[in-house]
């Protein structure tokens, strides 16, 4: 598959890897782009990309860190243009009903609406990008899944805002906006879509129970304010909440025998002593704090990539990794990127793009149904037969 990697940094666009044919570039059908906070606000970067790839659908969002090839970048915009030979595409976009505090029901309706705007015939996969701070990701994915069905592969992620958790931007075939959800759907027999997702986190400390919550807002664990507990564990890092809360994601099990999920914090409210998570934190569920070591995270990323690879040499690799992993690993975060790329294939770096997100979307290993994940490395591969 023909593709081109571009990076905008310090005010200049540059190409990476082998430059493509100009004619082929003009015929690019899809461009994914991810930009650091502040780089997408004015729509200039979008306009520049739209001018370079006039026939393509342009889909992108803001991030907690950009990935292009083997590199993890900050303060940049990265883009990957793809030319599909025999795969029809369609895009859709919805605005959230409210700018903030979207309920689970509203998020689910948004997902349904988004999917309903896409043709259903021959649909094989959907790549989702969503506002990262005001949406209930689990509900959103459920809404999409209910419309398209479980046979369609749904992957994607929630946009990021560095480690600030304030505002995120999402755009499809237009300048990126706040409070927006975008989707691009892949159709036809030729498209091959691979996916994999893994965390590498371990639970620690005593088992806790969610004693008070509303949707994705957590108030109390074991009858005490959850925020106070987090602050106690964060110690000096409590001052950098809500980002620092990513160091202690929450593992949640609704009932005995059910699939545990990992949830990360999106926002905190000191006045209400509450914490908003990227997905549901139902009352009565069991919960554990989680932590991870550097090596475990890297091994997780490698495992996700192995699961996603399609055994061809021309596949596109999209990496969506959690901002929490980047916070934990610091400069060594690139280790997980390198391991993931190496797991996909020797030349994969030239066709790889990704970002650090506020939530990852991927079919679950447990039952194959797409869901929101936190603190994972999620890998999607695209190729045409």
């Amino acid at each position: 598959m023909h593709c081109e990697q571009r990076v905008w940094s310090a005010g200049v666009w540059q190409s990476r890897g082998q430059p493509s044919e100009p004619a082929a570039l003009a015929a690019a059908s899809l461009v994914l782009y991810f930009g650091a906070p502040g780089t997408l606000d004015d729509g200039a970067r979008f306009a520049e990309l739209a001018a370079r790839y006039p026939g393509a659908h342009l889909v992108g969002c803001s991030t907690g860190g950009e990935i292009l090839g083997r590199e993890v970048l900050d303060d940049s915009v990265v883009a990957l243009a793809m030319q599909f030979a025999g795969t029809p595409l369609a895009t859709s976009r919805v605005r959230l009903e409210r700018a903030c505090g979207t309920t689970a029901d509203e998020s689910r309706r948004a997902g349904s609406k988004l999917a309903a705007a896409l043709p259903r015939e021959g649909m094989r996969g959907v790549f989702l990008l969503s506002d990262g701070t005001h949406v209930n990701g689990s509900a959103l994915v459920r809404g999409v899944r209910e419309v398209v069905g479980d046979h369609v592969v749904i992957t994607g992620g929630l946009a990021g805002d560095g480690s600030d958790f304030k505002q995120t931007w999402v755009g499809v075939d237009g300048p990126p906006e706040r409070g927006c959800v975008a989707a691009v759907a892949f159709y036809g027999e030729r498209i091959r879509i691979g996916h994999g997702s893994a965390g590498g986190w371990d639970s620690f400390g005593p088992e806790r129970r969610i004693t008070r919550s509303e949707g994705n807002v957590l108030f109390e664990l074991d009858g005490s304010p959850a925020l106070a507990l987090y602050k106690r564990y964060l110690g000096p890092r409590a001052s950098s909440l809500p980002g620092s809360a990513l160091l202690f994601p929450l593992r949640i099990q609704r009932g005995p025998g059910e699939r545990p999920v990992v949830r990360t914090v999106l926002a905190v409210d000191d006045a209400a002593q509450s914490m908003t998570f990227a997905g549901d934190v139902p009352e009565g569920a069991r919960a554990w704090f989680m932590r991870a070591s550097h090596d475990a995270l890297v091994e997780g990323a490698e495992a996700a990539a192995r699961s996603a690879r399609t055994a061809s040499d021309s596949e596109i690799t999209i990496l969506v990794s959690c901002i929490g992993r980047k916070l934990l690993m610091g400069q060594r975060v690139a280790d997980e990127i390198e391991c993931a790329i190496d797991a996909v294939g020797p030349t994969a770096a030239d066709r790889t793009i990704g970002f650090y997100s506020y939530g990852e979307i991927c079919p679950s290993e447990h039952d194959g149904a797409a869901d929101l994940h936190n603190q994972t490395m999620t890998v999607t591969t695209l190729d045409e037969a």
Binding site: P206, R232, Y233, L328, G330, Q331, D335
Partner: protein, 937 residues
């Protein structure tokens, strides 16, 4: 090279490829910082986690402790922890309660010191029974379990003490209940024997009733098998049934088994053999229950016999019986009852079914009887049934209420029903025969009565003419013949009268009158009647009175006189020498009645006791020879007896042969007024005024159609010195009276043209002086009803034919003469002299004398009327008579009498006193006036 370092080197290169050392140093330094921060953060995390886990641990421990304490608090068992020396370290509240001491007082003391360990138990055992001794001395039975725990190096002993007093008391109650049950089993009058299967059917229970029933004691029976106890056949029977019960595992019954006890009593037993099952379902015991039904069976047999007898008796007597439920009306009937009602046996029958076959003509009577029964009265009646087959039966029904409900309303009735059709038919035939006989007898009596009546009219002629003949100038021979005729005629008349009386009695036509009469006068009359014959036989004749005789009695005077004459006549007849005494004794029976006893004593031949009974029967004399010897019909005493009985009295005789007889009778009569009266005839006096006192030359009109009777009456009256005018019928009499100038009318009741009654009524209706003419009626009808009709018509006296000369003369005298002056008047009568003077001047002494005579009659009549009215409280009658009296008295100048009459007319309260005073005033006044008239002439 380390990847990180490679990336750092790559990042530190300038665009020209040279290395920027400052950037590299910064990157490396930053990497170390990141590493240190990471380490520090991990350490912090571990610390926080350790702290949290410890907190958690503590809270769990505290929770566990609290839970243990809660359990210990909630436990009803006492829990104590002791150290290795046995001292109490801690205890729960239940333990403190058991010991009856606060926890603080028990801590540190030795557990064992406060226990009394039961015998054969040891304090150190893992479980033992003991009693806790409380400070107040009470003891609580407990079961203690102990265990040892080693915590570290120290050994603790934990004791759990359970209060078993309730269980002990339950056990005691259970023992008591078992004893109670056993006592019931022993005392129940049913033989209960239990045999154990495991021991080969040996007796394990033998209650007292069994001991009594079989004459085998409990001691003898326990532990034995049946064959060891008796060789009676019953043992085999029992064994067979026991085996059957064991096999089918169900109770087995045997009824009416006969058994002779060791003591020789014959019993009849109902037996049950009940298998008892153990936990595995096998038969462990057989309980045999024996019910002594000897008495019941014998009673049932007796009952059966009685039933058979009853049934047979009912069948023989054609007597059915039934039991009726009043509420449902259902009837249970005996077999015979079914036969009687023509209903098949076993048919469901109700009272209504019975009523359906009651003969319609008898339904009202049956319903009335049922109503009485409904009020609890026993009933007996005979009625007819008309059965569905059309057969009519006479039945005698008797019924009683046999059972009442709580409100005393009849619940069940018992009734008997006997077929009396046969008897009823026989009875009907008898009744018919009797009716026929009685009818024949009545015809005979009527014939006799008619004949007697017909005979009396000619007898009147015979007697009358004979009397007149004897008064004429006859030679001695003629006189003797005439006397014989008279004697024979009188005897014949007596016989005829007797026959007439008997006929009347038999025909039921004898009537007893109710009129005022004077007993003293009556007795005098009787004496006079029998005196001639007594004198002829030289017998003394006397009247003795005991007690005061009332002046006026109500009753049938003539009949009393007839009885008394009969008895006195008999006494004279059967007494040859000595005396005949009539005794009259009067005793009070309350203020208005008198009991009278009449006795006639003679010194005659007497009567043998055996003959006395027959005396009062018809046609009986003591013997037939007496009839021949003494004459008479023999009817006298029978008639007397009937008459006395008809008047409500008794009659009898006391007699000894050759010593005389006393014939007596009693009567109970009403007294008319309380007026005392001396008995004028208590000596040999006579109520009849002496002839010298009789008013001579009264003008008497005689109305009589029969020529013979005209001659007789005219003869008697002319002989007595009266002037007689004869007419032949009532109409002629009325015309003559209307013309006036008569002092008295003698009139026959039955005459052509106008009879005596009609003529009397017409005369009374004339008004004026003529209306007050005294009238004497003659009749051949000796019936009281005639007398009553005469009195109602207005006659003053009444005489039966044949006419008794004496009676006629008396009546004339009474009605035309004044009687004695009454004694009531204490002052001279008040006369209106002016009025009387005018009368005397106008009429002259002679005519005024006649007028006074008539006025006296009228006044007497009205006085009687006033008196009668007052005695019966009839004020209208009093007023009417008093009004007449007032006018009559006033017109001849009797002023005071007129005033008194006026007062009575106005309804004065003391009517009776006023009547007495009025009578006195009238009589005294009249006497004065007559005197004046005599003086004037």
């Amino acid at each position: 090279m380390h990847r990180l370092l490679q990336r750092q080197l790559a990042k530190a290169r300038r665009p020209d490829g040279s290395l920027d050392p400052d950037v590299l140093v910064s990157l490396v330094g930053r990497a170390y910082e990141e590493h240190d921060e990471q380490r520090a953060f991990e350490a912090h995390t571990h610390q926080v986690m350790a702290l949290e886990l410890e907190e958690l641990n503590q809270s769990l421990a505290a929770e566990a402790q609290a839970r243990v304490e809660q359990i210990l608090r909630g436990m009803r068992d006492g829990v104590l922890v002791c150290d290795d020396t046995g001292a109490i370290v801690s205890l729960n509240a239940a333990a403190a309660d058991l010991f009856g001491l606060p926890e603080s007082a028990l801590q540190g003391t030795r557990f064992g010191d406060r226990l009394e360990v039961d015998a054969e138990q040891r304090l150190g055992d893992a479980a033992f029974a003991a009693r806790i001794v409380r400070p107040n001395g009470t003891r609580i039975p407990v079961e203690v379990t102990t265990s040892e725990t080693r915590i570290g190096t120290s050994l603790s002993r934990i004791a759990i003490a359970r209060d078993v007093s309730e269980r002990r008391s339950q056990e005691a109650a259970l023992r008591e209940s078992r004893a109670f049950l056993s006592s019931i089993i022993d005392n129940i009058p049913i033989g209960i024997v239990t045999k154990s299967v495991a021991s080969g059917m040996r007796v394990v229970q033998w209650n007292l009733a069994s001991a009594r029933m079989y004459d085998i004691t409990q001691d003898e029976a326990m532990g034995r098998v049946g064959s060891e106890l008796s060789n009676h056949e019953l043992v085999n029977v029992a064994a067979i049934h026991e085996a059957k019960a064991m096999e089918c595992r169900q109770p087995v019954f045997a009824f009416g088994e006969r058994f002779t006890t060791r003591g020789g009593r014959d019993l009849i037993l109902d037996l049950q053999f009940i298998p008892l099952l153990d936990e595995l379902g096998g038969v462990s015991h057989i309980v045999s229950i024996a019910d002594d039904v000897t008495q019941r069976v014998n009673a049932e047999r007796r009952l059966q016999h009685q039933q058979i007898m009853l049934q047979a008796a009912q069948s023989i007597a054609k007597l059915g019986s039934g039991l009726i439920d009043v509420r449902t009306r259902d009837a249970v009937l005996s077999d015979e009852m079914h036969d009687l009602l023509d209903v098949p046996g076993g048919t469901k029958t109700t009272l209504d079914d019975y009523l359906d076959v009651v003969h319609p003509d008898d339904m009202a009577a049956v319903q009335a009887a049922l109503a009485e029964l409904g009020q609890g009265k026993p009933i007996s009646l005979e009625h007819r049934l008309r059965l569905s087959s059309g057969v009519v039966r006479y039945v005698a029904v008797h019924a009683i209420v046999s059972e009442y409900d709580a409100e005393r309303r009849p619940r069940t009735l018992i009734t008997t029903l006997q077929d009396v059709t046969r008897q009823r038919m026989d009875q009907n035939a008898l009744l018919q025969a009797k009716d026929q006989a009685e009818a024949a007898n009545r015809a005979k009596s009527a014939f006799l009565a008619t004949m007697s009546h017909e005979i009396r009219t000619p007898m009147n002629g015979v007697l009358g003419m004979t009397s007149l003949l004897l008064d004429s100038a006859l030679d001695p021979k003629q006189k003797r013949y005439a006397d014989l005729i008279k004697f024979s005629a009188e005897n014949l008349l007596v016989i005829i009268n007797d026959v007439l009386d008997v006929s009347k009695i038999e025909a039921g036509r004898m009537e007893i009158g109710e009129a005022e009469f004077n007993l003293a006068e009556l007795c005098d009359g009787v004496l006079e009647r029998v005196r001639p014959r007594a004198d002829a036989k030289g017998l003394a004749l006397a009247l003795e009175v005991v007690g005061a005789l009332p002046p006026a009695l109500q009753g049938d005077g003539p009949r009393i006189r007839q009885v008394l004459v009969n008895l006195a006549g008999n006494a004279v007849k059967f007494t040859e020498k000595g005396s005949v005494t009539i005794q009259v004794a009067a005793t009070d029976e309350g203020p208005h009645r008198r009991h009278l006893r009449f006795a006639v004593k003679d010194t005659g031949i007497g009567i043998a006791p055996g003959a006395q009974e027959r005396l009062f029967q018809e046609f009986m004399q003591v013997d037939d020879s007496a009839t021949r010897r003494f004459g008479g019909t023999g009817l006298g005493l029978a008639i007397s007896k009937k008459l006395v009985e008809l008047m409500g009295g008794e009659i009898g005789v006391e007699s000894e042969p050759e010593k005389g007889s006393t014939f007596w009778f009693t009567l109970n009569l009403a007294v008319l007024t309380a007026r005392p009266q001396t008995l004028r005839a208590s000596r040999h006096g006579c109520t009849v005024a002496p002839a010298s006192q009789a008013r001579l030359g009264a003008r008497i009109l005689v109305a009589e159609d029969n020529a013979v009777n005209q001659l007789v009456v005219e003869g008697y009256l002319t002989e007595a010195g009266h002037q007689v005018t004869l007419v032949a019928d009532g109409y002629e009499a009325l015309e003559r009276v209307r013309q006036g100038a008569f002092d008295l009318l003698v009139i026959d009741m039955q005459m052509p043209v106008m009879d005596g009654l009609e003529a009397t009524r017409a005369i009374r209706a004339l008004g004026g002086v003529a209306a007050n003419l005294p009238i004497v009626m003659l009749t051949a009808n000796a019936m009281d009803s005639d007398r009553r009709r005469g009195m109602e018509a207005g006659v003053d006296d009444y005489l039966a034919k044949p006419i008794d000369r004496q009676a006629l003369i008396e009546a004339v005298q009474r009605l035309t003469l004044h009687t004695d002056l009454p004694s009531l008047l204490t002052r001279p009568p008040e006369i209106n002299d002016g009025q009387f003077g005018d009368l005397l001047h106008t009429l002259g002494p002679a005519r005024l004398g006649v007028l006074l005579g008539k006025a006296k009659l009228s006044l007497d009549a009205q006085l009687l009327e006033v008196e009668s009215g007052a005695s019966c409280g009839d004020q209208a009658r009093v007023a009417r008579a008093a009004h007449t009296l007032r006018g009559a008295a006033g017109s001849i100048g009797l002023a005071a009498a007129s005033r008194l009459a006026h007062a009575l007319e106005d309804g004065a309260e003391n009517a009776r006193d006023l009547v007495e005073r009025l009578r006195a005033e009238v009589h005294a006044g009249l006497a004065v006036l007559e005197q004046r008239v005599q003086v004037a002439s």
